[in-house]
Amino acid sequence: MATKLKDTDVVIVGLGAAGGVAALPLAQAGIDVVGLEAGTWLTRRDFAPDELRNNVRGWPQGIQKANQEIPTSRANASSPTAPRGTIHPMQNAVGGTSLHYWAQSWRLNPWDFKVVSETKRRYGASRIPKGSTVEDWPFGLDELEPYYDKIEYEVGVSGQAGNINGKIDPRGNPFEGARKRPYPMPPLRGNEFLEKMASAARTIGWAPFPGPAAVNSRAYQNRSGCMYHGFCNRGGCHVDAKNSTAVTTIPRAQATGHLKVVPRAHVTTIEVDGNGRMTGVNYVTDGVEYFQPAKVVLLASFTYENNRLLLLSKSKAFPNGLSNNHKQVGRHYFSHHQGAGVTALFPFNLNSWYGLPAQGVAVDNWADDNFDHSGVDFIGGGNLWVYSDRRPIGAVGASTFGRAPNWGSAWKAFIKENADRSNSAYLQKTTLPYEDNFLDLDPGVKDPLGYPVCRVTGEYKDNERRIAAFIQDKMEQWYREAGAVAIQRAPVGGAMGVSTHAYGGTRMGDNPETNVVDRWGFSHEVPNLGVLGASVMGTSGARNPTLTAQALAWRTADHLAKNWNAIGRKTS
């Protein structure tokens, strides 16, 4: 029998990138928030500049909840389940994966909110890929702009604006939607190689610019600027220059006295009453069960766990899982086609040992609808990202471009000369939702508490594969222009697998027949249940999801604070 705890106004399930942001506007409005986090606070000891630990062994944090719940995956309903991974892409800690992520903090482009209507308008309805369930967002970029701005300043984002109130600044991204003001900090610094790449892009008529990063380029909010020490990729920051919610919004929310952080709280199910109204959540700490009653719950536990918790929370009112009477939970799932990378070998050292993956040069000319798609057989595109990031084990494991075997004296001679001479581009590409890509509960695999894990059924379709091939051509052209002497392309994707960029399953939209949450992020079926994170996003754009997930989280929390009497009213 679970111990019933004292009632609170709001429970946030998961204090990561999204939940950690949502706590702040609520706490500032005087609403009492309990933040249930499966992980713990981490210390600087956890942020050692140690490649073996961070990158090879997956930063084994103390609490292993996520690693015991890794989703299973298969390409489609008739294909076999793939071998299960050993490290979950997400981790449990106060601050969640925002502690060790790359911290690229992009706004989506205007087209990403209007994929259907813009495609129909410009190219005709036949150009929407067959089988895709993509919809326009219930609002455009304009609606989200103030929240993007809020996060950029509250959390701290470095970058170069490209479009302030419609005025294009050629130092930034000329394709970005209009913003009201510049970033609060200048972009992270460049280096010789990045400048060479930028110069090559200009030579072929493209528009290179430094990307946005939730990393301090100078002291900000009494925290240090970046030290560029090279261990930011799946590593935490030893000087708190990476703007995880653990060092930004969460402590500020705690300082109001209205946020209680409960670490090591493993949430299992969400409860409802006979009228289908949410009453609170069940969680387990060290084998002891608790019930935390709340007037409102915000579910913020990453896409796989958001979907799983809803599907596991079955009741009389919701026999198919919470908020799933329209059978939309788990639908419209997709993950970024981040694969199909391109690696280049240069005849000179790139001096990339010290840097971070958010320090780089981007080209957006071939993303979204930034170019005329009349002559191509796909919609959308990709963002080209070249960054400065290298560590020893990764460097020696890189491609030998067919110029040497993988071991022995010839290999040793190759890496001695070339360990610092290759570069892999990060190519994020438009990925659409389709009828037959979805999340559900695995019929066989269970976590240690006996609950089924999430199952991913997903594969990239023709549209995604055509974009990938097109983008690889562009990337190769760029590398060659900068002097690359060999190019290696990774295979174009098939099965989606488990991803750090996982979207959908609780999509946001006005139509309850095709969407789980409304335009404010609250369930169409359970009025006092909100959902945060990329699981509400209906399109991916060609760039990292975190800033958008955070802007949406702030907007949902802000809406809740402003409408507290309507949404948080007592029911009994």
Partner: protein, 217 residues
């Protein structure tokens, strides 16, 4: 702006790196493998990253020692694969080349390893290629990982690829020095920096640098 002071840096530099204790040619004791298995593994890693005109290799890095140690903690789940794989490789060398692997010529050792790498070697449980890939990956870890874990002794792996070393701060001036080949190499483990030891002390009592603990292991 940083809390890593000059004094901290100097203090950290005064600490003798742990792996250097084995510098004099003495090999560290075997911890998890049998001595026969260790002898075979030593011979394998010596061919994967040979000691040659380009300098020290996996032997000097103590890569086999790294693997042997890790099989007692972080790589414990690979222990059965090593037991089975090393025994199969031993049998395969004897049956196909007529002698135990360590006694074969370098050329014959390489030809055995090529068979194992390509999956052509017989007598393995499953594919010999999976065993090869595992050993190669662990050999990289033991040669190019932080010396804290018992490999990359005397930083020979990092020196081979001219990695300028673990630092906690790299200024724009440092980056320019690197680009003009003027940056001095920093021979230091991540765990020689005081900010890590201090937080360790706060969390788990006295600092135990040199005694490898459970974090990441």
């Amino acid at each position: 702006m940083t809390f890593i002071s000059r004094r901290d840096l100097l203090k950290a530099a005064a600490i003798v790196p742990f792996a250097r204790g084995f510098q004099s040619g003495a090999r560290p004791p075997v911890e998890n493998l049998t001595s026969t298995e260790m002898q075979l593994l030593d011979a394998i890693v010596a061919r994967l990253i040979p000691t040659d005109a380009n300098g020290p290799g996996a032997t000097e890095a103590l890569a086999a020692h790294y693997i042997d140690h890790a099989l007692g903690n972080a790589l414990a789940s690979s222990r059965p694969a090593y037991t089975a794989g090393l025994a199969a490789l031993d049998r395969y060398a004897r049956s196909s080349r007529g002698a135990p692997f360590p006694q074969l010529s370098a050329t014959d050792q390489d030809s055995v390893l090529i068979d194992v790498e390509t999956g052509a070697a017989t007598g393995f449980t499953g594919s010999s290629a999976a065993f090869f890939a595992m050993v190669l990956s662990h050999t990289h870890q033991g040669t190019f990982g932080d010396p804290y874990y018992g490999g990359n002794a005397n930083f020979v792996g990092w020196d081979l690829i001219a990695y300028p070393g673990v630092r906690t701060m790299v200024t724009a001036t440092d980056q320019k020095s690197l680009e003009s080949k003027a940056l001095k190499t920093n021979h230091k483990s991540a765990y020689e920096y005081d900010f890590i030891k201090d937080s360790e002390r706060g969390r788990r009592g006295p600092a135990s640098l040199g005694k490898r603990d459970d974090h990441g292991d």
